[in-house]
Amino acid sequence: MLDQNMKILVVDDFSTMRRIIKNILKELGYTNVDEADDGSTGLEKLKGGNFDFVVTDWNMPNMPGIDLLKAIRSDGDLKKLPVLMVTAEAAKENIVEAVEAGVSNYIVKPFTAAALKERIDLIIEKYK
């Protein structure tokens, strides 16, 4: 169910980044948002959490975003979950790795609210 009521998980080790993304999502009309501070906590929340969408950073302690993405794609229940990566890692090899791991879209920090909206809309369109 990818619409304004979808349940979104924001995964980032910086509390400020989680706050930024949550506020922008709220302004875009997405109010059902939960958060996690690293990949492993995020994965635990995703299992059985009935989430519809994941926004994750790349560089995080314990489990980086790319490993979270791979774990999602290899989990029978989670593998179809849309994953948007929001990261400072802008090198081509990072983007290639993320795409190969099955990322749904990719935003480089710093980003604008409009850029976030555009990527979310693209993902929703793709998953319709």
């Binding site: 910086f14 400072a88 920090k109």
Partner: protein
């Protein structure tokens, strides 16, 4: 000059260069200490890079959170303003036709201003991600610096450089209660007052 003597001269020069390099790194680190707001390292040895990193990152986090709180307040006020514009629009409909048209045009313009302000606020929000980005860059810089420090210290120890060979840094004047560290505007004001009084006398 014998080969042995030449070798000794070269070694002494190398040792001196290494001591100079170690001193340079220590001075650079003290420079970083000076710009930290609430933290002062023991400066006799190379301080812990991770401690400095967490303090700088912590300062950035506080700054980002303060800015975000202000923007959140602005967004709340903007929402209230939007509600008032909606009320005005509804009232305008009850006016005589010509006045309703004029008032309607004005409230439309007000609504556009509100929307534009909201967009700017959201972009301000996104830009507070400087904390995250600066933190990540700082981690990389400090990690590199830490590796260089460790290598220099290791080399210095291996060739027998002692701490007495590191030139002492210039002592900084102490103003605040006998301590050289500064904690905020209050301390800065005290120093300014002290200096100004000395200049007047």
């Amino acid at each position: 000059m014998s080969e042995n003597n030449k070798l000794m001269v070269t070694f002494d020069k190398f040792k001196s260069e290494l001591a100079g390099l170690a001193q340079y790194v220590d001075d650079a680190r003290k420079g970083i200490d000076d710009i930290e707001s609430a933290f002062q390292m023991s400066s006799e040895k190379f301080p812990e890079a991770s401690g400095q990193l967490s303090m700088v990152s912590g300062d950035l986090e506080n700054a980002a959170n303060n800015i975000m709180e202000l923007i959140e307040n602005l967004v709340d006020e903007n929402d209230k303003s939007k509600a008032l514009v909606d009320e005005l629009s509804a009232l305008a409909q009850k006016l005589p036709e010509e006045d309703a048209k004029t008032a309607g045009g004005l409230t439309e313009k007000l609504d556009a201003v509100n929307t534009s302000m909201k967009t700017i606020m959201m972009d301000m929000f996104a830009n507070t991600s400087f904390h995250d980005l600066s933190g990540q860059k700082l981690k990389k810089v400090i990690s590199t610096l830490g590796t260089v420090e460790a290598k220099i210290l290791e080399m210095a120890c291996n060739v027998g450089v002692t701490t007495s060979e590191l030139a002492p840094s210039d002592e900084k004047p102490s103003y605040a209660d006998g301590k050289s560290e500064m904690h905020g505007q209050g301390d800065v004001d005290k120093i300014l007052n002290d200096l100004m009084q000395k200049n007047l006398s």
